[in-house]
Symmetry: C2
Subunit: 398 residues, 2 copies
């Protein structure tokens, strides 16, 4: 991850099939493709579009009131116990129509794309009932067809234990049975999700429960992800490595054994530094120890209404450098190549190289290191998906 | 600072003199001012434009290479010793023409304004010679005349000891003599700065030196500011309070005595949480202890090429809540009313109230708490200065 492979004074040739044909100096490209349409990138920096491999972008109301509750010392689990947190998003989403959710999410995904993300994983998980989880996944499917963004759907029915399964006559075990016997088969039947994810954390799902739920999902053909060791260690990273999950995400409380397990596995360690920032926690995932151990690290936004309402992926790069102490090259690779690996798309997106999908982002800077540097600004001026125009938040200037 | 005075379903009437005449429901305003031109704010949130009371916006090259040096463990003072840091900006600025600096700063100030700042304090301090400090201040004066932003100039010739005064035959004492005997009188003669500031920190200027320099500036009619107790405690906050500085800025390493001194003074405590974030330091100023003691707190961006290259003031509000544990109301007041106080403009800007200058920012949100919440996004859609259009980064939508 030392070398991001930055090249200067080159252009990118894109074929009619939306794949990259060549990267070379303009003169060579003009000789090789004399009939090509040219787009002037105005001396900006062209990157692979960011691969944001962890978002919860389908939700109803924003939850801005919780930010200052937390600042006043009310904890994450306590907000949840008071009926806030995830459960307030669940109540809200269940009441909304598919069309309403499409409209809300389309605007939010457009904002994510306007900062340079071209592939975005989107989880369900604010439904927590068969009907509302399937509705959420149908929303993602419609958005994937309508928007110039590559969306990767993940089923996260195991985001929490819904409140109605916390009191007799129903139990958490009943909800886990619904997950395994009803939801996962229904999701698989309509191919509504590529991944199955679970929030494996003390107070939410145990590693033993995660093993059962994910085992059922794998049996139905889904690949696996875990919300692992976010706030407290539970051995979730070790579990992710053992079962061959595609990624283990969060990891601020990962153990030394968990790091070793991830390093010895094909599981990508997905770090979400924006979440810890927004939560006001100084504890970030031990990224340098992970890199030293040989882990593959991805960076993602964790875009969600409770703990990380940012759409600005370059700010996540900033935090990758300033908080996780990555080099700029490591941060870019984590945001592109390794983000793609965290979605099982390592051969398809995340690189500017022949054969890869022409998913690109253009930034109004002269050096790629300026993208994490001008923190909080919007420097992305255009994106392309499969070679076609995506979002153009700003005008190209000369 | 508990109540930000949020009002719903009202409009703002602005007079031909650029001052706010009234704030009332639309119907009342239409009855009172039947000939007024109406601007539809599309149900967005209108705030006083942010008052960014601490920036170093006049510089040449960006210093993006230092971010990953720091991430790799090279310290602030060590980067300075290696000839990086402030000194690299000094070498760079000295070689640039006034026109070049105007062009660079105009673009950067426009980016700050595009996130909602309408009043911006701008310091010199990358010249560190009579000629280049005066040139910097002339740049600020030109920009203040040309741009729809209210700029407040501060003389910061005492930003560092220039390298040429660190070896025989010249000494730091010689530079202090230049500051006191040449620069301050020249700045005052042409009324080029409203404030004089000094970096009072172990390794830079001592409190005794600060007292002499600021004493000379006051004698020439300038108001006073201090970079105080940023990384190590030096008693600079105590000094600021004692000499009646308008503000003491940074304060991450302020002592209990310093907090008490500020609380018992008229000096505003200006906190710069973006700087600590970008530097990767977990230590933030003890904002809650300061508020409990009775300090007046302002928030500012510290926009500068080395330690805080952000133009996104709403992100500073986010950090005010998430890192400094302010309520949203406290953060807004710190960014407006108290920012104005930190510039001696408390009766002129920073409030939506009759008689105040109509310096406004409009945000594409429905609740003011969303401004710090959607962290890192650009939600500002328009600004006004003295009632006239400022920056319109985005289109007003309905």
């Amino acid at each position: 991850m030392r070398d991001a492979g930055v090249r200067r004074d080159v252009g990118v040739a894109i074929g009619d099939d939306g794949r990259i044909l060549a990267i070379a100096p303009d003169r060579e490209l003009r000789a090789q493709f004399p009939k090509a349409t040219e787009i002037d990138c105005a001396q900006g920096v062209l990157t692979p579009g960011f691969v944001d491999s962890h978002t919860h972008a389908i939700f109803g109301r924003s939850r801005h009131a919780e930010q200052e509750m937390r600042a006043a010392g009310v904890g994450y689990m306590e907000i949840a116990k008071r009926g806030g947190g995830i459960h307030s998003s669940v109540r809200d989403l269940r009441e909304r129509s598919e069309d309403d959710l499409v409209m809300l999410a389309a605007e939010r995904l457009a904002r994510l794309a306007a900062h340079g993300s071209t592939t975005i994983e989107v989880k369900s998980g604010y439904g927590l009932s068969l009907e509302s989880e399937l509705r959420t996944l149908r929303v993602i499917r419609r958005l994937a067809q309508d928007l110039p963004i590559r969306l990767v759907p993940t089923f996260l029915g195991a985001h929490e234990i819904p409140l109605e399964y916390r009191e007799a006559p129903r139990s958490r075990e009943d909800y886990i049975a619904v997950l395994i016997d009803e939801m996962i088969p229904a999701v698989a039947k309509d191919s509504l999700a590529r991944f199955c994810d679970i929030f494996c954390e003390p107070g939410v799902y145990t590693p033993a429960e995660a093993r059962r739920v994910l085992g059922a999902a794998r049996a139905q053909g889904m690949a696996l992800k875990l919300h692992a060791d976010e706030l407290e260690h539970a051995g979730a990273a070790e579990l992710a490595a053992e079962i061959g999950a595609t990624s283990a995400d969060h990891l601020a409380a990962v153990s030394e054994l968990g790091i070793q397990a991830l390093a010895n596995s094909g599981t990508v360690a997905t770090l979400l530094p924006g979440t810890m920032l927004f939560l006001g926690r100084n504890k970030q995932a031990p990224a340098r120890a992970m890199l030293d151990a040989g882990c593959a690290i991805a960076l993602a936004s964790d875009f969600n209404p409770g703990t990380s309402p940012t759409v600005n992926f370059p700010l996540i790069l900033t935090l990758g450098v300033s908080q996780l102490r990555l080099s700029v090259a490591e941060a870019f690779i984590a945001a592109t190549v390794n983000g793609a690996a965290a979605l099982g798309l390592a051969g398809e997106v995340g690189q500017l190289a022949p054969g890869f999908s022409a998913d690109l982002a253009l930034f109004d800077v002269r050096d790629h290191r300026e993208i994490p540097y001008w923190y909080g600004d919007q420097r992305c001026v255009a994106t392309w998906l499969r070679g076609r125009p995506g979002y153009a938040p700003k005008r190209l200037s000369h």
